[in-house]
Amino acid sequence: MKMMSGAAMVVEALKDVGVTHVFGYPGGAVLDIYDALFAQDDVKHVLVRHEQAAAHMADGYARSTGKTGTVLVTSGPGATNTITGIATAYMDSIPMVVLSGQVPSMHIGEDAFQETDMVGCSRPIVKHSFLVKRAVDIPEAIAKAYYIANTGRPGPVVVDLPKDLVNVADEHPYVFPNDVSMRSYNPTEKGHPKQIKKAVSALLKAQRPVLYVGGGAVACEASSRVIELAEKLHAPVTCTLMGLGAMPGTHKQFIGMLGMHGTLEANKTMHNADCIIALGARFDDRVTNNVDKFCPHADIIHVDIDPASISKTVNAHIPVVGSVDKVLDQIHEQLVNQDLTAQQEKLADWWQQIEQWRARTCLNFEQGEEVIKPQRVIQALYKHTNGEAYVSSDVGQHQMFAALYYPYDKPRQWINSGGLGTMGFGLPAAMGVQFAHPKATSVVVTGDGSIQMNIQELSTCLQYNLPIKIISLNNRALGMVRQWQDMIYKGRHSHSYMDSMPDFVKLAEAYGHVGIKVDKLEDLDAAMEKCFSYTDRLVFMDIAIDQNEHVYPMQIKYGAMDDMRLSKTERT
């Protein structure tokens, strides 16, 4: 039996669960753990500039790999700074473990220096949390944390470690548990056979089916099975903002993203469908619009690993609790004996209808001759990255443009804060992606508002030579806020613009990176080419875009899914 300090146990346990990167920031309560980290090379530590960014980096690492991201922070402000990052991961079901230092056990509750009740603070936004009470319990707590974070419906787990437990001077026996099964936690992975049968029969009966694919399909690597089902049934597929990439964006059966800023064809298809199979999607308000008017003709099959997601907002006719990959395997087993040759002919009318909606080309925009349209920038980005980049987005108009105008062919390629909508997410997330995939092209699509919410990480990028490409759509305003103010508040732009923008090119240069400013359409492609020619440098592209552009299509509030504005003047 190995004897070691609590601090060494933390690092040893991280090695035993296979952690490669820890994103963190040192401080009083975790100095012992940092000392243990210093003594080894297996677990790489990334020193961030702000703890929120550490959480987003771990998140980007997790989203792009499927592996659990790890954060290490000190007590008090170090821990509370991660709260937004934890909430972001929680809302999107991203596996993450946050190791937070805590004041020594005997001082807990005394309002000691840098004390906060981290387990309490984070309680509503974690899947689970541990306040470790004894040093010998450290390996088990860490093993359980990683097990919980990345099984069932994934999510963030906090492990709070009082300083006296990790004291480098005290040694304890280290035993890493072989088995972490818990009597109170057994996620259901396989669907109930009876429900599978019902689902299959509903799918085969359907005249107007649609696959509605969400982040759950990405989380359990079910992409190939989704494509297989779509092709077998010859059914159209729409993805949520979180599901983009689970069905290739260039696949002919893919009809675009659905929801508030979904395509006309996706929302029309949903609204008119007679059978919807939801695969790891949760019918959230940014998809359904008014639930009372939601898809009135459809039998709804809802496949989700989290029973609480089923019939939460929209009633499911055929609920199937299970992970999307396992359930699709079961569905495929049932389909093997079915003759599906007539499917294509059966759905011919349905496709004819869908093609009519598609023919309205709802994503068309008028570029004009001078002012650059944001959509045009995303199209250029697609072209210059061959559609193969990891695209991490911030939150706002640029996020929707990046979702709509860059067809993602692979899952995990599109990284964004969908549920919480966290501005400042993009840059650190792209850094996490780059750490996980050093050779890949990691791009941030951001705006002048979002990028300033974690701009300090440009310094971290320099320290670790991360050749990230930042595509900043600069409209000198908080675009999405401004759009809503235009539409709902009679154009009164209350605090949605900034008249003291920094010179982003100089700012990038001050951090030791390359800055490129683009304000003419004719320069866009050349600048983009130049940007991607810097294979070993971070490039910040500050692109001046049309301030008055709105994101369309857009659902009309309180309407059905397919009640939409298609431009400033047209509606369905």
């Binding site: 387990v119 899947k127 109170s184 609480a308």
Partner: protein, 165 residues
């Protein structure tokens, strides 16, 4: 509609706060709450009385079930069940006639007088929530209520059904 939800959970620090947190976080009502370790000390059993329509109750049971510390959740009101609540009530008994009336009513409700002082009686009463409500009303009519404390409902399913790990 009133529902009695019974929860079997790990007797671990923080488990209770997670359950209570889930209720407040999602805007569910807590009418009463009763919790203690079971015969197996590693487990706690919690009984929560809440109200809401079927959809809300379904969400409550699912959300509570989702918590890592929770082993089992059952809605006792779905089937035949037994429920009990305990109340301690202290009433002013300054005159002979009030004392007599309080004693008489306590007997009728099968309450037990636990503490007797010059100026007050403390009575223990066990029963359903309705019975306790009725007794409190009766006491309020015949004497001045000084204070009262109730445990909240605890309950078990009738017959073979049981909440076991």
């Amino acid at each position: 509609m009133k529902r009695i939800i019974s929860v079997l959970m790990e007797n671990a620090p923080g488990a209770l706060s997670r359950i209570v947190g889930a209720f407040s976080q999602r805007g569910y009502n807590v009418d009463s709450l009763c919790v203690a370790p079971t015969d197996d000390e590693s487990l706690s059993r919690l009984t929560i009385v809440t109200h809401g329509d079927d959809k809300v109750i379904e969400q409550i049971t699912k959300q509570v079930n989702k918590l890592i510390d929770v082993l089992k959740v059952v809605d006792l009101t779905e089937g035949a069940h037994i429920e009990r609540e305990l109340m301690l009530i202290k009433v002013a008994t300054r005159t002979e006639s009030v004392r007599a009336e309080v004693k008489r009513n306590a007997d009728i409700f099968r309450g037990v007088i636990l503490d007797v002082n010059a100026n007050n009686y403390t009575i223990e009463l066990t029963g359903t929530t309705d019975k306790l409500d009725a007794f409190a009303t009766t006491m309020g009519q015949c004497a001045e209520i000084i204070e009262s404390s109730r445990t909240g409902v605890c309950g078990l399913a009738r017959g073979e059904r049981a909440l076991r790990p």
